[in-house]
Amino acid sequence: MMAEQGRHLLAQQGPAASVRRISGLVLRYWYVIRSSWPRTAELIYWPLVQMIMWGFLQKHLAQTTSLAGKAAGIFIGGVLLWDILVRSQLGFSTTFLEEVWSRNLGHLMMSPLRAWEMGVALMVVSLVKLSVAMLPVMILANVFFGFNAFSLGVAFAIFFANLVMMSWALGFVAVGAVIRWGLGAESLAWLIVFVLLPLVCVYYPLSTLPGWLQPVALALPPTHVFEGLRSLVLEGRFDGQAMVIAFALNFVYLTAGFWVFHHLLEVARRAGSLVQMGE
């Protein structure tokens, strides 16, 4: 039997308590974003540069090749969707790194915050950072190059959801590695997503990959998203079945990602690495 809770504290069990703790942590990251305009500018900088570069390339190709002229929006669309995956994963992982850099992790790990609540807070903040980074870039893509991602309608929302889910799965693995191995694993948080770049067919169709590599690519949800974008832009066809497969795969990856994070956290508790990280 646990001793009774102090009267000066709110209830600690149940959904309301979890929401309160999650919102507390989200607020902590919001205060950081709000306090530093260079950080906000940094969020927008790279997606903007990418979009402009690929936008001009697309313009040039449209003037010189018939395929690119027909497929206006493929490159810019690919770049924007790829950046959603990258920015969301980086938003998730670097938000956690803030705790390691500021040596605040010990305070959180010894607080009533649960591991899954920290995970949800990181997801929410990655969405906030993604919105800050991508909304201005999408608007500028429409203004400069006439590519309106929102004109893709529901398909865009489905693409977006799939990419964000995959980014969270990768984020959980990266964060778990940092918890277990400390800042020696920090580069994983920055680079893990790029291992997917050659495999998920961002700029070329699946058929370009050698036959033996195609099943590997199809086991990755973003491949279905980028293939879906091409079939939508080139053929005006939305492949619902591919999206169902992508969601199912994402469910598996997200569950596995959280398991890895949770497992590495428990290993870190046994190894004492959380104490060393605090020092």
Binding site: A3, S36, R103
Partner: protein
């Protein structure tokens, strides 16, 4: 009947701890004879109960099977040189490190399995864990207050700021404060939830004597007014002598002394705790050197 006997035994442990006259071996015998759930939730339950706690890192014993019980409203100091096992013990008390074997119960909860049942009633302060630099003092207290589920949070932030003389600093970023001001903010964070168990790791490290004295008075007053159980890890023997009613001295992960500072000083015939600490650690070092030399001779 069994409960009454358990309560009587616990009362005995409590009295012994308060009178601080008992030798560690005797205390351990009494402790081990306690029923498994004796006094849980009752007035006389220990706030912290450690049994045969052991932590081994890759073959290196950091904590080698220690046992102690701390009653509510007491201040206990964990002493020992670098690498004695103080930080590992505190980390296990908070559930940050999982023990290799043995148990830690805080406010009745097994910290290996049910730490989330009590972590909102516990807090800690350490110079080795910073709080976010970019956030203002108010924002930091707001965040931790929400995580700990503090009622009437704005009011509580105002109260704790007044108690720790932080009102003028509330809207300044934590990173721009002096070392003394940062310590007061860390203490405010540790007290935001009015914890029943407070763990303090070097609470006055790097403070000037005036601020350090003020911090000690604050800790003393908090423990007295709230009947909080305070565990203090410190290298400052004057601080320990002033604050702690009991000293648990660790060396290489083992308890080598467990009594009141006054009893310990008297037993070793020294003038103060600093001299006593040096006498104990140096004598043991000498003993170890002699033993090693004899081993070499053989």
């Amino acid at each position: 009947m069994q409960r009454a006997m358990g309560a009587a035994l616990l009362a005995a442990v409590g009295v012994i701890h308060q009178s601080e006259r008992c030798l560690p071996t005797t205390r351990r015998k009494i402790f081990h004879s306690m029923p498994e759930h004796a006094g849980t939730g009752g007035e006389l339950s220990p706030a912290i109960e450690v049994r045969d706690l052991r932590k081994v890192y890759g073959g290196v014993v950091a904590v080698g099977g220690i046992s102690f019980a701390l009653m509510p409203g007491t201040i206990t100091a964990l002493l020992g040189g670098n690498g004695a096992g103080k930080t590992t013990t505190i980390a296990m008390l908070m559930g940050l490190v999982v023990a290799t074997s043995g148990t830690v119960r805080v406010l009745g909860a097994d910290m290996a399995r049910h730490r989330h049942h009590v972590l909102h009633r516990v807090n800690f302060e350490s110079p080795y864990a910073d709080i976010p630099m970019r956030l203002t003092v108010r924002e930091n207290l707001d965040v931790f207050g929400r995580i700990y589920g503090v009622k009437d949070l704005s009011q509580r932030i105002g109260e704790v700021a007044r108690e720790l003389r932080l009102t003028e600093l509330l809207d300044r970023p934590y990173g721009k404060l002096s070392a003394g001001q940062k310590t007061r903010v860390s203490l405010a964070k540790a007290l935001i939830n009015q914890p029943e168990v407070l763990l303090l790791d070097e609470p006055t490290a790097s403070l000037d004597p005036d601020t350090a004295d003020w911090v000690r008075s604050t800790i003393e007053a908090y423990a007295r007014d709230r009947r909080a159980t305070v565990v203090l890890a410190s290298h400052n023997m004057a601080e320990v002598e002033r604050l702690a009613g009991r000293v648990i001295m660790l060396e290489r992960g083992h308890i080598i002394a467990d009594e009141s500072p006054q009893a310990l000083i008297a037993r070793y015939g020294r003038r103060n705790l600093e001299e006593t600490f040096l006498a104990i650690t140096r004598r043991r070092d000498d003993d170890s050197l002699v033993a090693a030399a004899r081993e070499d001779e053989r």
